[in-house]
Symmetry: C2
Subunit: 164 residues, 2 copies
DNA sequence: GGCAATTGTTGTCGTCAACAACAATCTTTC
DNA sequence: GAAAGATTGTTGTTGACGACAACAATTGCC
């Protein structure tokens, strides 16, 4: 294999110093098009931005939502258990919980069984709030459907089910 | 709708203070399972880690690879054009190019047409290096196939084609 | 009882997106 | 042709996030 650059759209322009304006969408991506990682990254950015915008009024970001959801569905978990389940570092979870606890959505209860650990629970206020967050998250999910199609979203969830 | 928490797996445990050990994989994700964003995020983390590992010997990260690929396929682009095409902020691209230029993979040529902008080109060394990076990236892509299946990878690229 | 492992915490480092400000340079408008 | 406005690259700041390392308190193991 020689040093030849692209096989797709070489489009060699003037040797150096640029020429005319480029319309930004006529730029070839070359090898990038065949890369799943690139497509997934762009999609993930889009989907997170939509989530953040849709839950903007309640000021909840995707990671916060995931923490609240897991605690809501499994009251009494330790921080270690939550971190491991969500793939978050326990050091990072400390700050996340500090914030959620300040907002009175979560409480850390000293565990009697293991005095090192905290049993995590939603507050009453936290349960009410989470119900609202879930409604907004469902709305966000409809945006995803509108964007890629209902069937494609289903297929996507199916393909990536192993990573949850 | 009442304040009731989860409909899937409530699994209420002792009022407070936790009980027995949780095996970390028996923790329900509840609403998270139906969220495309969560699955996509987890998958994106996996795929980037594999990319970084596979291209570890040559010390190239996904974003660097995308920049090199686009410049290679479209020599003479301005920083603005590259940033816009890849969805990178131009402020961020400055540092990326500083690094790539120090490594003699990319050169910034002062554009004669517009003296504000730089025309971006791969160096001869950069072209050779990129060819190698592409071979390693193809290897990474095979890892993705092994993970989710050849057909699923194709379908994924198809579903997300609109985001590239 | 003593030693290793675990849990929460604090701190540092590097990546990355989002902004804001700025000088140099183009483009538009009068 | 000159002033006003927009664009380009650059620098800097902020905040979310992942990866690590160290530490005190506590538990489990032998």
């Amino acid at each position: 294999m020689t040093a030849g650059a692209a096989q797709a759209s070489p489009r060699k322009r003037a040797g150096n110093g640029a020429a005319r304006r480029i319309d930004a969408d006529e730029i070839g991506l070359d090898a990038l098009v065949g890369h799943a990682g690139y497509a997934v990254r762009r999609f993930q950015i889009w989907i997170f931005q939509d989530f953040i915008k849709t839950l903007g009024n309640v000021d909840i970001r995707p990671t916060q939502y995931s923490v609240l959801t897991v605690i809501g569905a499994n009251p009494g978990l330790s921080q270690m258990a939550v971190a491991k389940r969500l793939g978050i570092e326990r050091a990072r979870l400390v700050h996340l919980l500090d914030s959620l606890e300040q907002r009175k959505l979560v409480k850390r209860v000293k565990s009697k069984a293991d005095r090192r650990s905290h049993a995590l629970h939603l507050t009453a206020q936290g349960e009410i709030a989470l119900a609202k967050f879930k409604r907004l998250a469902a709305e966000h999910e409809r945006h995803v459907e509108d964007k890629i199609g209902k069937a494609n979203r289903e297929r996507l969830l199916q393909i990536l089910a192993g990573f949850t």
